[in-house]
Amino acid sequence: MITRRTLLKSGAAVAAASSALGLPAYAQTKKLKIGYVSPQTGPLSAFSAADSFMVEKFLASAPGLGLEVEVIVKDSQSNPNRAAEVAKELISRDEVNLILVASTPETTNPVCSIAEQEEIPVISTVAPWQPWFIGQQGNPGDPGSWQEFDYVYHFFWGLEDNIATFMNMWNSVDTNKKVGALWPNDGDGNAWASPDVGMPPALAAQGYELTDPGRYQNLTDDFSAQVNAFKAAGCEIMTGIPIPPDFTTFWTQAKQQGFNPKLVSVAKALLFPESVAALGDLGHNLTAEVWWSPNHPFTSSLTGESAADLAAAFEAAAGRQWTMPVGFVHALFEVAANAIARTDDPTDGAALAEAIATTNLDTVVGKVQWGRDNVPEFARKNVSKTPLVGGQWRRKDDGTFDLVIVENAGAPEIPLGGTLETLS
């Protein structure tokens, strides 16, 4: 028999139970703060041209994903010390729940190191994984001491992919297999020149003969010594990882002094259409590594746009040609949104880091999933590799350049746009 008292009692019990268990949060919005660090000013700022466009795009799509999110954008000023400083500010003053960081080890590494100490999850991109992973270790020289990270996760390609891409291009052309290398005395140059992990062992394995005149300082005004060495050795292939002004100086001098290789494959200096356009006629048919292009057959998990749509939207909004970081900055927000969606409480750092680690997402730059076996065991937990192909810059009649994909052995799903042409 239900009396007034038992009704009240049981009602109270039900109310207590439901409030204790919590209702399924179908319509609940997740509130959090995201910090974004990139080199928006200074010598590396070309990497950040798409930043504000992508942040706005993410903020526009956030309400649809049930997110009430604030993105705090910080500028590293292309300076590692400044990057560390803004990371500290984001963590202690702004109290962000997640940090996204992009573009070059000078920015990603200090931010990741600080966040790992402070136990704030980070998603990082646009830096080859070796300088990212090894560069953050206490003792980069001793592989035995290298440790995994718990809070920082990185997606990009590695040195081995870049070397393979270049060598696949060279193998497809008939040359005398003599390679001249222009490797500067900086982090990238020393990594490429390394007899252990760099290009020399890969070249030797495939029967190429290397002419390496030695490490030079960045912003050198005269490359006659290198040009002479390459000419004397009869090199038909030229490679290197110079900064853009040095490549222009070198390549102009090479032409003046009659060094005419068949293939020129240069990393870093030829990433941006502006640097290639600066070369004028001399930029035609130079080859470079391509991490992203509008022809990549991927779509955004955030907006459903294809790579081509995304590039077109950026070109319309910014009034300039697409660049490779466009796709990667977008993918950074894709991975972030996906990880947040899979976390019940994204303000819990450990839970969010756990969600990032278990990501399996097809983004506009390809699949992002940590722990795959295409990365060496020691870095597998924190590094996810994205595909890398080879491209050739083709000069159009109006003086602008198109990047045509000519080599895709490492990622056959990315269609070729043409065949490799030699310079001479």
Binding site: T41, G42, P43, L44, S45, A46, A49, N185, P213, G214, R215, Y216, Q217, L219, T220, D221, D222, S224, A225, Q226, N228, A232, P244, P245, D246, T248, T249, T252, Q253, K255, Q256, Q257, G258, F272, E274, S275, A278, L279, G280, D281, L282
Partner: protein
């Protein structure tokens, strides 16, 4: 022959360094002002030439004739309204002001032109070469060197053949006595900075056609320019050319041994000259 070729390339590189240094030498020689913004002023000149070429479609070699008067005016105003206020017995304030100016110019250029790499396009001449039998020299480096010689020659004519040059020398020797003779040091200084920026514009033309530039690249070459001035001896313009050539050749020889030695050997040459002749190769006056 690699030996002769190395020296020839070093000589031509020296011409470029001498162009960087000539404006600095002028300002330093006349008013003892160490202009830390000189490299950035060269980059400013390069952007000015770039703006003129894109706006009018002129060849950079012609655009320089439009850019030079503008830079002269800028130098005049800069000296009259900013640098003259801080010149005095203490050398620190002008040093700090030019350091600040360097930061201001870099960031203003960044704001106005973004960080994109730019280059002045001189057309097919960039890749042309002259085969002299023993060596093959690029046309542009040879032009750079000849321009450096011409600039130094003209500056010397100005210094030793004109009333303005007399005023320059008088102010440099003893500003107070020069004032008694009716020379106003402020006006002389303003003229000198104006002329220095005209020279900087010529340097900008060759820097901009040789390589890419962006707003942050100015200070990189400032050190070589300083060394060229010091090696040559304060106040001597031909000495500045010689200083540039010494550094250029030392770098070329160093690089031919090993590129790691390229920059270092330039600095070593500087130290050696300082040890042997502490006042430089051709010091103008005993002061």
């Amino acid at each position: 022959m690699i030996g002769i070729d190395t020296l020839a390339q070093g000589l031509l590189l020296g011409g470029l360094y001498a162009l960087f240094a000539a404006g600095l030498s002028l300002v330093f020689g006349i008013m003892r002002l160490v202009n830390l913004a000189h490299g950035d002023l060269i980059i400013l000149g390069a952007y000015l030439i770039l703006t003129i070429t894109t706006a009018t479609g002129l060849h950079p070699f012609l655009a320089v004739f439009l850019a030079a008067p503008v830079m002269f005016g800028f130098g005049w105003l800069l000296q009259t309204h900013l640098l003259n206020r801080v010149l005095g017995p203490d050398i620190l304030p002008p040093l700090l002001v030019t350091f600040g100016l360097s930061v201001v110019i870099q960031n203003a250029l960044l704001e106005g032109y973004t960080a994109d790499s730019q280059k002045l396009s001189a057309g097919p001449i960039e890749a042309q070469a002259m085969d002299l039998g023993v060596v093959t020299l690029g046309v542009m480096p040879v032009l750079t060197f000849l321009s450096a010689v011409a600039v130094i020659f003209l500056l010397n004519q100005l210094f030793y053949r004109t009333a303005l040059g007399r005023a320059f020398r008088a102010t440099s020797d003893d500003a107070v006595t020069a004032q008694l003779m009716g020379i106003r040091p402020e006006r002389v200084f303003a003229m000198a900075t104006g002329i220095a920026l005209v020279v900087a514009t010529i340097a900008a033309l060759y820097l901009g056609t040789r390589s890419n530039f962006d707003p942050s690249i100015g200070p990189a070459r400032l050190l070589y320019a300083f060394e060229a001035v010091i090696i040559g001896g304060l106040g001597s313009l031909w000495g500045t050319l010689a200083g540039g050539v010494v550094i250029g050749m030392a770098q070329a020889v160093g690089a031919s041994i090993n590129p790691e030695w390229q920059i270092l050997s330039g600095h070593i040459a500087f130290v050696v000259v300082l040890l042997l002749r502490p006042r430089g190769l051709f010091p103008r006056a005993n002061d």
